[in-house]
């Protein structure tokens, strides 16, 4: 099968095939297990970078990896093992990884460009069957060629590292759900007493509380649809309807008799109760979710801003965005200890979030009774979009950095 693959690739360039094969086999000292695309260590590519071929199956992790000079290279990793592997190139002295190739299938190879500064590096190959296996270390020496910059590596984060932060975030969410439940009770009481104004205040507070836990929506399952059911405003997919907080907003705005709104509030209360019972037990965030949601909350907000979905009947757009920002900060906070020595743009991110917050405060001061965001003057709208976009570009890094990798094995003495 391996040789078959080799032949297929070689057919296209018959005059080169023999020569190439010879060089590859010499370079790796292996005969049967070399795909044609796995170049000899130290070979030069057409773009002037160095090509290196490395085996990354659990049984031969790092074979082909040897001492070399600092600089840019095309690393081709080949999984000749029986199952998929995640592959890392690690600098054991610092623990940092400079290459992360995940889900490389059996018999598959992948080429990635990486620029290595002087140091000692080894491959780590992780699979379900064999766990994490460390390969031999090799030394990269010398200075980087002019104009080249070392690939920005990172101290890897494992799922175990994220257990604490996810737990702290879930605790924060649970506290909000408790407050949400109390607000829904207040809302019910106000409606039962026919107090429309108090009902609106309670609804508003409940809406903002729920919006703030947006980082956890993905873990709320069926309860989210009952609490915040907002069908697509064009042609809604079958079975979707307005429920929960948005339905109550519609009913409050439409001037219905307060008591007629009670059944909708009872359904909302049941959903919130159900969510509180299940959240943190059978409904929980996966370790990867926290980093993802730190940028996805505002990605959703950006889309809502573009679609007009933030322009609800109550014109709460700036308040909803402020809740989104608070939710983003809440998801980010437990990750900060991990990010401090990993995210080179953390300072910029902090400033970008502060600027977004300042822009939102300005908007809310200028429009204390709420405003339709679509009706803002161009300059104000552009500033808001720019602050949101600026924060999003930096938040995206957090998801990349906190994407958990497999644990790294100890270095053999």
């Amino acid at each position: 099968m391996r040789q078959g693959k080799w032949r297929v690739l070689a057919v296209g360039v018959p005059s080169l095939a023999g020569l190439v094969a010879g060089v590859l086999l010499l370079g790796l000292g292996l005969v049967a297990a070399v795909p044609a695309v796995l170049p000899a260590h130290g070979a030069s590519t057409p773009t002037g970078t160095t090509a290196t071929g490395v085996h990354v199956g659990p049984a031969d992790c790092g074979t082909g990896w040897s001492d070399s000079a600092a600089g840019r290279r095309d690393l081709t990793v080949w999984n000749d093992g029986p199952t998929a592997v995640d592959v890392y190139l690690q600098e054991p002295s610092t623990g940092r990884i400079v290459l992360d190739v995940e889900s490389l299938g059996s018999q598959a190879s992948r080429t990635t460009s990486v620029t290595l500064a002087a140091g000692t590096y080894r491959f780590v190959c992780a699979s379900t069957e064999a766990g994490s296996v460390g390969g031999p270390t090799a030394t990269v020496s010398g200075a980087l060629p002019a104009g080249q910059h070392a690939t920005a590596g990172v101290l890897p984060i494992t799922s175990a590292d994220l257990v604490g932060p996810v737990g702290r975030y879930q605790h924060w969410v649970a506290g909000h759900l408790h407050r949400l439940q109390r607000r829904v009770r207040t809302l019910r009481r106000a409606l039962a007493h026919g107090d429309h104004a108090a009902a609106v205040t309670a609804w508003w507070t409940a809406t903002l509380l729920y919006r703030r836990v947006g980082g956890a929506y993905g873990a709320f399952g069926r309860f989210d649809a009952a609490i915040d059911g907002r069908p697509f405003s064009g042609i809604p997919p079958p079975g979707t309807r307005t429920t929960g907080l948005p339905l109550i907003e519609e009913l409050l705005v439409s001037g219905r008799p307060p008591r007629s709104i009670l059944p909708a509030v009872d359904r909302l209360a049941a959903a919130v109760r159900g969510l509180r019972e299940h959240f943190g037990t059978d409904l929980a965030l996966a370790p990867i979710d926290l980093g993802l949601r730190t940028h996805e909350i505002l990605e959703d907000a950006d889309r809502d801003l573009a679609s007009g979905a933030l322009d609800t009947p109550s014109r709460l757009g700036p308040a909803l965005l402020t809740a989104d920002l608070a939710g983003t900060r809440a998801a980010l906070a437990p990750l900060l200890p991990l990010l401090r020595d990993r995210d080179p743009r953390l300072g910029r991110l902090t400033r970008a979030l502060a600027r977004l917050g300042a822009t939102l405060r300005q908007l809310r001061r200028a429009h204390p009774a709420g405003v339709r965001l679509a009706s803002l003057p161009r300059a104000a709208r552009e500033t808001l979009e720019a602050r949101l976009d600026g924060a999003l570009e930096l938040l995206a890094d957090v998801a990349v950095i906190t994407d958990p990798v497999q644990p790294m094995p100890e270095v053999a003495p």
Binding site: A36, P46, T47, G48
Partner: protein, 420 residues
Amino acid sequence: MTRHAPGGGTGPGTGRVTRRGLLGGAAGAAGGAALAAGAGLAMARDDTTTPDEGDLRYSADGPHQAGILTPVQRHACYLAGDVTTDREGLRRLLDTLTARIRALTAGGPVGDDGLVRTAADNGILGDDLPTAGLTITVSVGASLFDRRFGLAPRRPARLVPMPAFADDALDPAWCGGDLLVQVCADEPDVVVHAVRDLLRATRGDLQVRWRRDGFTSPPRPSGTPRNLLGFKDGTANPDVSDDALMDRLVWTHGGGGEPDWVEGGSYHVVRLIRMFVEFWDRVSVREQNAIFGRDKSSGAPLTGTDEFDPPDYTGQSGGGAIRLDAHIRRASRSGTAPDQRILRRGFNYDAGLDAAGNLDMGLIFTCFNADLERQFTAIQRRLEGEALSDYVSPFGGGFYFALPGLGSGEGGWARAVLGT
């Protein structure tokens, strides 16, 4: 397909025309074994190296920006944006644009992203960027010199907001902008790649105000490309290989009321002109010819036989073949003012339908000139009331100033515009 700068040379501002080799420089010096192994890798990459052959590249560096005298490419995207940051942010924005323009117009392998960021490149051109004649031209609007950045004293002397001319129906949403970025290339994916790259790199500091995409047609069957009214458009352009002529007609110079930093720039006029093509198609070709003053089929003036025959405007009282309200007679310079000529560089646009279901297409009229009042505006005023005005409607665009070339001064665009 490689095209060369006008006159086969390297005219000012057009940049060098280069051809990226099949093998990079470093590989040529490598030994036999290394070369063979390199070829082994190339084997798997055959499909990416082949298009490199003849990939057309214009350098972004030089005394003038590319995309002005450069032969017009097949595809374009015009982005007008507002600067949404402070003075220091504007400096960062201009530096970022400079770096991205240099990288994009150089092409080649994309950088590696490391493990602390999402991929910087959007990937739609693969890992080895072709250039396909890419040029990215940056211009500034009059609004950049308002109070926000303290730049009022540095405004190019002739840069004003575009006024509404007599036949205009300007929509503010389609006018102006602090910055105009004109992205042109021969392949549409290269344009889109550059647009996404530029907007991502400047996100937070720049918000797009309006955008319009354009294209030019190949010669049908020969000569100057046709616009969407079916007429050859741009026949009377001045010769871009004549440096002295370009110095008079296109490039701005410091002194005489202009700040020094404008040396090597150019006033950049963009007019978004809707064409009522359904109406136009119901007009007889005889009438269309009279409206333009040219023969639709050949492009020849009605007083000549071939496209490039000079028109004869004698018979001013109406006795001549070219009507008094014909487009080319109104637009042509009078014999006494030869320096009125402009360098046109327009693109057709085709943007779907209007609200009533009519085809929304027309022209992104673009021209460069050294003096708006002496050149473009003088011509445009003569066009007011021309016969063509019933069939077209200018609705947007603006007056901009194309910054001097990237290689023209210490400190680059930020120093030029901000002065410090």
